[in-house]
Amino acid sequence: MPAAKRHGNSLVLALAGILIAIFAAAPQAAAQGGEPSFFAIRGARVVPVSGPAIDDATVVVSNGIIVAVGKDAAIPAEAWIIDGKGLTVYPGLIDALTDVTLLSSSTPGRPSSSGPEDRPGATPWRSAADEATLADKRIESWREAGFTTVIASPKDGIFPGQAAVLNLAGDRAGEMVVKGEVAVPLSLNPVGNFRSFPGSLMGVLGYVHQVFLDSAWYETASAAYAKNPRGRARPPYDRTEAALDEALEDHGLVLLPANDSVQIRRALDLADRWKLRAALYGAQMAYETAAEIAAKKLPVLVNLQWPEKSKDADPDEPPTLRLLRFRDRAPSSPAALAKAGVKFAFYSGAITAPKDILKAAKKAVDAGLSEDAALRALTLSPAEIFGVSDRLGSLEPGKIANLLVADGSLFTEKTKIKFVFVDGRKFEIRESPKPADPPKNGPPGEKPAEEIALHMAGGAQ
């Protein structure tokens, strides 16, 4: 009897131990192996983007990497096989410019600025790679809409920071980063007003030009000073100049806002005059200017939030013909760009319901863009524009295993997304019972305590 009791006791202890281990280990589940990361989707229609679509093919994923794509792909024994009948496999979608993964911090009142030397609205050292947080609930909703990757960037100010390529999954924020610092987005909205510089568009342009000149000067001056510091005044340290100089030397890609024709032409001219390697973002009036953009060989990010009648509009104030034409023709801009041979990618703009992103892309298809080109703009083209096409953007062996698995063509309305793979990690997408908008970023200052802690840990400036 004592023996049984002893066994009973140790059983309880063992059970307790296991339970403790389970609960104690919950946050550290990642340290454990988890599901073996070998998957195969067999017998599906595979759309690699980098090549023609293949029917009845297999995609094999291993440790976060695509290892095989094709009709006769070998499937490792450890692989979990997904029957691809009736399914189509695409590269995971890329949102080419967004602030998903970044939670906007409450911006303290901007100090008044009395000129370019005060560097108003300039924080080019901020990096999305540093500030990305898994606490952003939009990550999940973007993923459920088929997006595996975003090019994320802070968006406050004129030089908000630098964009990074991030995958939408990970156990730690850092695991999201595919490549930090890939572009310097610019905004040309005046951050000031009548009392604080710059308060006008021409003020902003003068300011931006001055900052670029100063950064170039900083490089020359600090190099010359480093060579021989004796007997001369040292060039003062300016964080903006240092950060910009570094960025321009590194990737050197500047994103210029350019939505209507006047802005597009202006941006093309600025890129020339300021000698920038640039890409335009916005481009909703490219239907008029595609040839000019093509001539300058600049890539373009197209805002998929097509202009629409505002719900707040005054019903007695009819829209102008100019605006009506814009609303009517904007979705045909991608087709015009494609025809002119311009490389372009899609981004979500201010769309808050990510399911609307594909719908908007479909509108471009309806307006004349081929489905292939639309898909490319959501996959390989953004990868190319941001210099990560060697590892993302198409279904090719060796590339990161970011996949979108759907039960039909992406541009058919009834199609549902079934699975999304991010870095080889499988996410099954289930139908939500009601069509609800994904939770948005809360307004600044109203975040749950946990999120704030995470955000601060992520390294505020």
Binding site: M202, G203, Y225, S261, R322
Partner: protein, 476 residues
């Protein structure tokens, strides 16, 4: 032919449709026939004709035969004059006319923010204006850089600047830069708050510009002498335009009202060795006309504005005439997209107020502003060799009853009243059609989302397609 005209009208009227490469109405040869030609430079020619070739005035006279292939415009009973030049305009500027935050905003340049879609361009064209001096506002003692444009409606921004015209910079004296009429609740006053400060801002800026210039001259000298590893001075976009002023490469257009500040600026300019190209508004210019005349500065003023500010309280409609009589080169300007549409009428007022002759009055809006802006070799009168910038009126332009019928720039018709009228129904139709289209699309998508909801419910009950669950453990 009519469809052609409509298409051309559409091209003309809507920049959205305009093909950038070719300006509208690319007709190389035009003969305007049998008008009263008000040359401005050498009197009026009754039953006169003007031949236009390749954008220039090729011939002016009474009997000119139309060359083969020329488009002939019968201007019988009408009056042809040089295109009106507006020496003070804020049209076609995007994103704010003022960089009002700082006292010296020379870093800003209106040339970078031209908006070719601004309707005021068209309204001014319809009033006979062909060139406008686009200026920064008057919020600062030293404002932004300025430029002269031609009102080539339908062309992209890059095609608007008047080629070869020297750029300018806007100064402002008096109440506006010292913000005496503007108080923002809770904000402290910005420097300068007095006319003394306004002067000091200008002197300080030019002092700085001189030092800046010296630094660069110094650096260049040492560079030439072969010195290595020099740290160059910073390029300062705020001071560059001021150096250009000192070097005579950039015109100064100074908004000014009171007599004393006008003379003050002449003093400061003399001290620093630059010239004031024009005084703008210069409503008390008549009090110091001799001083202005002696300096060689031009004066660009209003016809009859007064009484809205203290410094405008002594403004008189005789200003232009009085200054003219004392030897000042005077133009009449608009400072407003609306006023610019009837500058011919404003000029006419100087006949009543001050007794200027018709030719003198016409000069105020043609040859005189052309000279002030340094482009008199190209525009400002109807002379062989000048640009074909012309406007046709149905009555003598110095009359309230005159209506502009046609405006040409570089020999292209940019405004045609008959065509404008003819194009209206088609435009209205297009707008209605697009609104209809949007309504239909909105109704269709409403239906779709109404249909979807019951469908989605059903799909939950449908048997799911074979998925991971069922394939579990299948052999490969």
């Amino acid at each position: 032919m009519n469809r052609c005209k409509l298409l051309l009208a559409a091209l003309l009227f809507f920049p959205a449709c305009a093909v950038q490469a070719a300006p509208p109405d690319s007709v190389p040869v035009i003969l305007i026939r049998n008008a009263t030609v008000l040359t401005v430079s050498h009197g009026a020619i009754e039953h006169g004709s003007v031949l236009i070739r390749d954008g220039k005035i090729a011939a002016v006279g009474q009997k000119i035969d139309a060359p083969a292939g020329a488009q002939v415009i019968d201007a019988t009973g009408q009056f042809l004059m040089p295109g009106i030049i507006d020496c003070h305009s804020h049209i076609a500027i995007e994103g704010g006319v003022n960089e009002g935050s700082i006292s010296v905003s020379s870093i800003a340049d209106v040339a970078e923010v031209l908006d070719p879609d601004d309707m005021d361009i068209y309204y001014d064209l319809a009033g006979g204006v062909t060139s406008s001096n686009i200026l920064h506002g008057s919020a600062n003692a030293i404002g932004g850089q300025t430029l002269l444009i031609k009102l080539r409606w339908g062309q992209p921004a890059a095609r608007l600047p008047f080629e070869g015209a020297l750029p300018g910079i806007k100064f402002a004296l008096g109440e506006n830069p010292k913000r005496s009429n503007l108080s923002i609740p809770g904000a402290s006053k910005r420097y300068p708050a007095t006319r003394m400060g306004v002067e000091e801002v200008i002197r300080a800026a030019f002092t700085e510009a001189l030092d800046y210039k010296k630094k660069f001259d110094d650096y260049n000298r040492r560079l030439k002498a072969g010195e290595k590893d020099l740290i160059p001075p910073r390029t300062d976009l705020r001071l560059e335009p001021l150096v250009e002023v000192l070097e005579g490469k950039r015109y100064v257009h100074a908004h000014s009202y009171r007599a004393d500040e006008i003379v003050m600026l002449l003093r400061v300019a003399k001290e620093f060795g630059f010239k004031v190209r024009t005084f703008q508004h210069v409503l008390e210019g008549y009090k110091v006309a001799d001083e202005i005349a002696a300096s060689g500065a031009g004066a660009s003023t209003f016809s009859d504005w007064w009484g809205y500010k203290m410094e405008a309280y002594d403004a008189i409609p005789y200003n232009a005439a009085l200054m003219t009589r004392r030897g000042v080169l005077v133009s009449i300007n608009s400072d407003s997209g609306q006023e610019a549409a009837h500058l011919n009428q404003e000029a006419a007022k100087t006949i009543k107020y001050g007794g200027l002759s018709e030719d003198e009055a016409l000069k105020l809006i043609t040859l005189n502003p052309a000279i002030q802006l340094g482009v008199e070799k190209r525009v400002g009168s109807i002379d062989v060799g000048k640009d074909a910038d012309l406007v046709l009126f149905n009555h003598h332009p110095l009359s309230a009853y005159a209506v502009a019928q046609m405006t040409l720039i570089d020999g292209h018709v940019y405004f045609d009243r008959q065509r404008d009228i003819a194009a209206r129904p088609a435009l209205q139709k297009e707008a209605d059609a697009l609104i209809e289209k949007e309504k239909k699309a909105a109704a269709a998508s409403k239906e779709k989302s109404a249909e979807k909801k019951p469908e989605e419910k059903n799909s939950d009950e449908k048997p799911k397609p074979p998925s991971a669950g069922s394939s579990q453990g299948d052999a490969q």
